[in-house]
């Protein structure tokens, strides 16, 4: 709520939607944007990639930590990462937003501005949405994406002998969350990363073009997400901590400040939306695309994830219902 700004309850649904929608510049793929019963998005590929994520206030974000702009960026980023992880590019988003009547129109507009800022980095548009009354903020985003003729890169394609590689940072968001919870000053960059992640946009398509066998984004935690990939592919994945030294190094000071082991963030922290993929190895070391870091290998064996050849005993990652 802000001083002279009307609330959603005062402004009403349709005037608020007009304010959220007006003046936005849609990309060429948006054949019909907001304002009708539905939008129309081009899919020249003959296929549409689609994924959805819901963010709940108090569970996925806190409005005393995140600005509405941050929440908008994060909601777009985490959906975009799911499309990237298929080897596709995001083209369009639709957004359902639930909020109390006392929410300021300025905060709702800032949420939309954050979404547009992040979508703009992808060349994508927000093409439609829904605005409803709710007891607290609920932000539900669906992303559409374009494979541009590529074969989708599944979780199930990893084969023994493959090389595991990552692009994007690991552990930053989890470290930032801990710093926010503990109220520890400094480390502004890590806190920012929790509030608005920086996925490696464009690299999903790069990996697909480099013949990636399997890919996923790190949304729940590296070990947890690799666990899904290992299960889908029925392989053993062996992660090498040597390959993750730069992530660990970046978090040592923050770990010392809050008394935490940086490895728990690197291996168990999600929400940075790094991309992790398996590339075929015809030689060793395998060729991976520029900027990707080799962090392990795929072996024949039961579906499991090892760390330096041994089971990992720390927390693997996040679940929606974790008691």
């Amino acid at each position: 709520m802000r001083g002279n700004e009307p609330t959603l309850g005062q402004l009403g649904e349709f005037p608020m939607i007009d304010r959220l929608v007006s003046g936005r510049r849609q990309p060429a793929t948006t054949e019909l944007g907001p304002g009708d019963d539905a939008a129309v998005v081009r899919c020249a590929d003959g296929r549409t990639v689609v994924s959805t994520d819901m963010l709940i206030e108090g569970r996925h974000f806190r409005l005393d930590w995140s600005t509405p702009h941050d929440v908008g960026r994060k909601a777009i980023a985490q959906n975009a990462a799911d499309v990237e992880a298929m080897g596709a590019r995001p083209t369009a988003f639709v957004v359902a937003f639930g909020a109390p009547a006392h929410t300021s129109a300025a905060d709702a507009a800032a949420l939309a501005d954050g979404m547009w800022a992040e979508a703009g980095r992808l060349g994508a548009g927000v093409v439609g949405g829904d605005l409803v009354q709710a007891d607290s903020w609920v932000v539900s985003v669906t992303v559409l994406g374009d494979l541009a003729g590529r074969t989708p890169v599944l979780r199930s394609g990893a084969r023994p002998g493959g090389t595991l590689a990552v692009i994007g940072d690991l552990g930053r968001s989890a470290a930032g969350l801990r710093l926010l919870r503990d109220g520890v000053a400094g480390f502004d960059d890590l806190r920012r990363r929790h509030l608005a992640p920086e996925p490696p946009y464009g690299q999903g398509a790069v990996a697909a073009d480099a013949a990636a066998q399997a890919m996923t984004d790190v949304s729940d935690g590296l070990i947890a997400d690799l666990g899904h990939l290992a299960a889908a592919s029925q392989v053993t994945i062996d992660v090498s901590t040597a390959g993750l030294a730069s992530d660990h190094q970046a978090l040592v000071a923050a770990g010392a400040a809050v008394g935490a082991d940086p490895w728990s963030w690197v291996l168990g922290g999600g929400e940075d939306h790094a991309l992790v993929a398996v590339f075929p190895s015809t030689e060793f070391p395998a060729a991976v695309p520029v900027g990707w870091r080799v962090i392990g290998r795929v072996a024949d064996g039961p579906a499991r994830v090892l760390v330096d050849g041994a089971p990992w005993s720390g927390q693997a990652g996040w679940q929606s219902y974790d008691g």
Copy 2:
């Protein structure tokens, strides 16, 4: 919550998702269904129609009135109607579902069953989703649709001289809501219609093929939704109550039972998701497709909706923030 059924909190996110997803039969348009970072849906048309709606427990449905199966059907139906209103056919849905940890797994499964039952009537599939913890139920659905080469039918295309026609029932859902609120017995069919609407599936494409100039579905209320169409088209729409006599007649007994004017339901009640369209009139009376009922005409004049040539003084329809 049910006797021996585990709760979402006991079962956990991923086992619950497995239960929701397993054994479902995807249509041919689903190239890749649930289980990876995103789904892949065919769009042979080169365009995807997309729309989203969020349902909030206590605001859009009550779990003491609706079964979870009803909620699932309603969430799919109202999204499907938005795609129909463009002249397209729904092909795929993604669903984000927020619910408390104490929600029974059986209730979550019944929600999904209801979604699949309704999607199945359309030949569409539920291709992906998200499951998160929330204080109460939140159901956010996004629908994808296929125009099959048709030009989308917008709200903005109505021209003076056009014939206004409707297919599907009006006022049933509003009557059912009032009966539920007042706890009046009998009229089971009307209560059912509120809990699970029956949109006229397939008729959006029929209208598009019959050269409909403009179309929308009645989600907020006939006068309210025609108001959007009149504003987008910059025309005056004159609704004839003579054309709505059958809807009125069907609600007379219920109106008497609760002391309400059936016209307020027919003209102001939403959520039945009838389709209302404007057809070009080269002759009078105009030819409209089989099953469509002529309920008025489009005239030159300011953007407004008249009833029998005069302004309507009753409630026009529903808004998300209505104080």
